[in-house]
Amino acid sequence: MTSKGIERLLLVLALSSVGSLALITFFIFWEGLPLILGTGPGDFLFSTHWAPTKGRFGIGAMIVSSVVVTLGALVLGVPLGLACAIVLAEFAPKRLKQVLKPTLELLAGIPSVVYGFLGVLWLVPLIREHLGGPGLSLLAAAVILGIMILPTIISISIDSLSAVPDLYRDGSLALGATRWQTVQRVVLPAARSGIITAIILGMGRAVGETMAVIMVAGNALKLPTSLLDPVRTLTSNIALELGYASGRHREALFATGVVLFVIIMILNLTAAAVTRRR
């Protein structure tokens, strides 16, 4: 094939992937928007009454659950991930970093059903026995997600810490700073935008994760009042009900998808804006 021909072929492939993304987006909105407008956006977003067979479509409890589960995952995953990234990028011998970083990135490739399985097997009984409640809970979901977002946070944070020029470190150390003072006062501020991006992308992963959450969260349809309550997130709702939904019910699930889509779009755009502002 001539290089002109290859160029054209690549262009067609690129356009078709962009095109199918656009189609998917359009389709989700096309299917979901009418129901949101019909129910009234306020009712749909803030009511906690979800009874599709009775024509009640309020996803308020699921939004709250998704938000709390995600925040919980961040509370666990961000300090742990950042600490890990700082140790590997700044304090560990180079060779250890070269071995551990790809290993950690490999963790991102483990199917989420495996995380969910481990959660059901170990975490859920642990919570049930030591903290009470059914075990399947908001807490279980937050812990599992906190672990699942570690590779994202660690890997991107390490990259942004490594991108800070040694010139800054040398300048700080030569003024009598310790390694830790240097990290805290120069390296972290210099890597800030990369680290924020890491956190936002981790957050996106947590919001969107489905399988592991279904397995450990308990999926109850009510507003959680404690960390030990079983909850249902937006993603779980779609996955659990799409199989048998039809008509307005099906539309309501697409509408749930619209809300998720918007949340994740906002997160990604924020990440892109932060990265660009360097």
Binding site: L173, L175, A190
Partner: protein, 270 residues
């Protein structure tokens, strides 16, 4: 080569502040500095000259132990600063580096505000009050001739300054920790000729209060600013660097003892 403290003492310069005895330095298997012995006078400027790769930067990093950061560096011999062996056990690196400051080849202000750059050192070494910090910032910036230019925008990022201003800021940042010795590794190599002259003036002024060791590729610069010059050489690339001679700048540039020195200097001036 000067080996006794008195021999290097010039009328205007004080007693030696830095004394090196039989120094060998290795990067793993590579012998980078071979048997260097010399004295650097206090309140004077010593220039280190010599071809690229002869170990000038390496020697400079010996004096504030920045070589410790490089894996596989080994050193034998003695390095005394104010009579203290800086490689003895139990030497406090923070104290040493406060006392022996360094200006780098490329200006390296931190990506922080001008103010935060200047007071970076004082904040490391204590919890000074705001008024004290402002006092230190004013004094340090004034000492490098930057105060008038930046006094109205201390909060702006240091990286928005010109390269020359940035290098001045790096000197100010150093002065703020009140060092006694300033190590400068080709501090003008990233600057244009006019900025270079400006920094040279600054270096000359600093001599009044500090002991300065400056590495330079620029013979005119060494001749203009320094009181004492050390010429380093190496037989060939990959051979260790050696100190050929150290003497007053006047003698090194007018009638050096060693033929190699004369060849190098006339070659570089030519």
């Amino acid at each position: 080569m000067t080996t006794s403290p008195d021999a290097s003492a010039e009328p205007q310069a004080g007693p030696p502040v830095i004394t090196v005895r039989g120094l060998h330095l290795y990067y793993r298997d590579f012998h980078a500095l071979k048997n260097v012995s010399c004295d650097f006078a206090g309140r004077a400027i010593t220039a280190l000259i010599g071809p690229s790769g002869c170990g000038k930067s390496t020697l400079l990093r010996v004096f504030n132990r920045m070589n410790d950061l490089i894996e596989g560096v080994r050193l034998t011999g003695q390095v005394l600063i104010d009579g203290q062996d800086i490689y003895a056990k139990g030497v406090n690196l923070t104290q040493l580096r406060k006392k022996v400051g360094m200006v780098f080849q490329r200006p390296n202000p931190f990506p922080l505000s001008i103010f935060d750059n200047v007071v970076y050192g004082p904040r490391l070494h204590g919890r000074p009050r705001k008024a004290e910090l402002e006092e230190i910032a004013t004094r340090s910036l004034a000492a490098v001739g930057l105060w008038e230019e930046v006094k109205d925008r201390l909060g702006t990022p240091a990286l928005s300054l010109t390269e020359e201003q940035q290098q001045r800021l790096c000197v100010a940042r150093l002065l703020a920790v009140e060092p006694e010795i300033l190590l400068m590794d080709e501090p003008c190599s990233a600057l244009d000729p006019i900025s270079t002259l400006a920094i040279e003036d600054l270096v000359s002024e600093l001599k009044e209060r500090f002991t300065v060791v400056i590495v330079t590729h620029n013979m005119q610069q060494a001749a203009r600013v320094s009181d004492q010059t050390a010429f380093f050489n190496l037989k060939a690339q990959g051979e260790p660097g050696r100190l050929v001679e150290i003497d007053t700048t006047e003698r090194i540039f007018s009638n050096p003892k060693e033929k190699a020195t004369e060849d190098y200097i006339s070659g570089r001036f030519g």
